[in-house]
Symmetry: C2
Subunit: 271 residues, 2 copies
Amino acid sequence: MKVTIAGGVHGNELIGVYIVKKLMRENFWLKDIAIDYLLANPKAIKECRRYIDYDLNRSFSQEALSEDSHIYEYERAKVLKKRLEDTDFLIDLHTTTANMGITIVLSKDDPLSANVAKILAREYENVKILRWFGTEEGNFINSCVKSSITIEVGPVCQGVLDATLYFDTLKVLQRTLDVLRKEEQLQKSVECYDIFDYKDFPRTNGDLDGMIHPELLGRDYELLHPGDPIFLRFDEEEIFYDEVPSYPVFINEAAYYEKGIAFCLAKKSIV
Amino acid sequence: MKVTIAGGVHGNELIGVYIVKKLMRENFWLKDIAIDYLLANPKAIKECRRYIDYDLNRSFSQEALSEDSHIYEYERAKVLKKRLEDTDFLIDLHTTTANMGITIVLSKDDPLSANVAKILAREYENVKILRWFGTEEGNFINSCVKSSITIEVGPVCQGVLDATLYFDTLKVLQRTLDVLRKEEQLQKSVECYDIFDYKDFPRTNGDLDGMIHPELLGRDYELLHPGDPIFLRFDEEEIFYDEVPSYPVFINEAAYYEKGIAFCLAKKSIV
């Protein structure tokens, strides 16, 4: 089995970058598993930016992969698709400015990915499973492998390291490799969250008119009810939630301001 | 009296950007005071980056201001120096990823700036005064005005808004204008902190070897003693503080990683 461990798909999410560098340097390896260490967006890592021209983790759609492009990330995606051809399992390391603890994002609906996520969620109290099968912006990097999980940890600012979250991520990554190596199986069902909608900030002519309400900030995975405050305008007017009860995630994620996402809405179900 | 209110000297510090935009939009004005609203680095604001080519807040040294340059911020600094020629007082709005509450940074040793800072620090419990008279990297924007304060709030990530800190900043800004308009004076002395040294992360060949120790993270303005842990290496080895007792500030500020600053050391004194 070949596993690829990717850091720096987003160049300013430092925990993944430094975990991959550490494991490369230590020449960490495992019996029965071939590991490929990948610093996915080296130019963005060097500049400590999310991306240079376009979000690399939205650059794997058929269109992006087929056209000749002036976009650095589209060209890089073509190189990575080739490199990932014989990868059986991708572990992609990310961080978020939202208070999401350790979230295993599943973007593929396959048994191996789901099995690994379930084992992690049952073993660690602060690990949650979030299913997100793609966006209109373009496909994620894991669209070109058979199986994968994304380990998304937060809250941590872009461009900084947080030692506690660094070692939490490392622990979950090592357990993932362990599960893959031993081919462990879990038959039991586990709770998971499915993203089904997005909420944008209040805006005028595209520019922000307000912020996440202080009562919502940091409350990822806490049930949001109609009537709960969600935004506070710059003029101090409050805006209230008026849809079906749902679980907000990625609340105030820095990189999603430009995508028109103040937070995502998820439903809870059983996987 | 002419007061300039600047936001976006760093384009990804959104609180200042959106306060300046709000006041411009409302056409906020005061009797007896002419106000100039300044979005200082429009290109960086548009791209939501700290800067394009070089830190604008280090681009006001004589050298930078005199040479023809390919650096966008050096050119912008020349324009701003001209614009600030008749400014009596500059209020410069910043944020930090460090847990610094509301810090009034004084970078000029003049009575008016010190008086305003003292009044703010005595009135608000969470306002501290920090004196920082420059760096070897180049002069701050307030080097070209007679008097100024920098309002530095945190912790907040780059590229995001925090409603509580937004309104805290606005409150302190409005009180500053009030003090200037009424020419209030405070004869009493007030505590302040003076930056006297910097500590860099552990590194090998320039690249990080470790992180801020979890026991230090978030403890800005708390006295650091010899023997206290300050860094945690990627291999889990702890590094301890071995200098004179001092107050750490700007702990884990994202923008200072590239400057070789993990945190600054300050002494407490009376202003």
